[in-house]
Amino acid sequence: MKYLDGFRNGKAAKALTARLKAAGERLDAQGKTVQFMEVCGSHTMAIARYGIRDLLPDCVKLISGPGCPVCVTDTGYIDAAIDLGKQGHILATFGDLVRVPGSDETLAQIRAEGARVEVVYSPEGAVALAQDNPEKQIVFLAIGFETTMVPGISLVKIAAEKGLDNLTVLCAFKLVPPALAALGSDPEINLDGFICPAHVSAIIGADAYKPFVGPRGVPCVVAGFEPLDVLYAAVELAEQAADGRAELVNQYNRVVKPGGNKVAQAVVAELLELCDEPWRGIGVIPESGMQLREAYAAFDAVKRFGLKLEPGRPHPGCQCGEVLKGKITPQQCPAFDKGCTPTHPLGPCMVSSEGSCAAYYKYVRREAGAETMEVSK
């Protein structure tokens, strides 16, 4: 397919690698080492899968950020969902969440013991469950970033239109820019640039990163998920760093508009309002989440079931928080590939297919498994 293959051109990768090397030499001459964060889990996967870290000069590091919504779902949220499942309600969820450890168990474990945890591929699947099981309460586990918010929340409108009174959502929606602001101001992390997410940006627009650039900011590049997209973003960031510039560049302008998708923004504004939100391993970030507005309280699982979400107890050995903040690489976690593997994950970063630990496990640990751009033409 042209719109995929065109972004996997191995020869262009060579040209970009040469530009990276040149930028690296300029950084070396200035005695600078730079760290760029790829915020989004799909970028993390592309970087690991195509071996992009191997193409970077030593003075340029790519670190993974908190951009996998499954990985940043708080333990307490999983615990609340598990409680609802055990009470006999039907849980509808996207797939990866079922294996994420709560304080004591996972949704997969309670499902094996008889609870109904149904994997759906779109929120409409949850609506169908509600229609097919009128005597049951269906709770949709609504997690995700800006990209998933509208699909996730749309079922509230459908439920209202259809007069379904047995469907609620348990919201843990998260916003990317407040997380970037929190990470960018953490003195222990020291970031020199962001590879901004692709499809989150399709919704919020490239201009959402304007506050991060400029004289006291860092360069921001919006990039797609194909290997050349990511490599080109790394080149842009490295060249800006070598020039001492901090500009916003939208390299994914084939999809992302400066102002984003206004229709989606209007739906979000109608149904949702800002709230403080806990991020696994990072803590509560003020105004970094979205919850249902009061007018839709009837569809809010927290209100219908009188839930009180408490902070959970993540596995004591799991360092997902440090991984999500880019402070350590997965291999620096003592449990990596020892106590913690994709079949027996201790933390969500190893569960989700886009988690940093899973990406490292699959592609970096097994060097031979990494694809290169040459193979994919």
Partner: protein, 78 residues
């Protein structure tokens, strides 16, 4: 989780929903976020929703740029 590949809009149904396809595989998608979508458009589909229309002119420009970079790399013997 936010991964989505471009799919062609093959059909717009009476209820306003769409059918999108890629290499023979098809999927139903909600078009409410892309009110301007027309048949033949390439859509970015995520969790059952088309979230944006691919700007093929911009995509073609970028592909051409990468091809040109590739040729120059070849000529430079990289």
């Amino acid at each position: 989780m936010c991964l989505a590949v471009p799919m062609e809009l093959l059909e717009i149904r009476d209820d306003g929903s769409g059918l999108a396809g890629l290499s023979g595989a098809t999927t139903a998608c909600n078009l409410s976020l892309v009110p301007d979508a027309k048949l033949g458009d390439m859509l970015i589909v995520h969790a059952g929703f088309a979230i944006e229309i691919l700007d093929t002119a911009e995509a073609d420009k970028r592909i051409a740029l990468f091809e040109q970079m590739g040729e120059e790399a070849d000529e430079a013997g990289l």
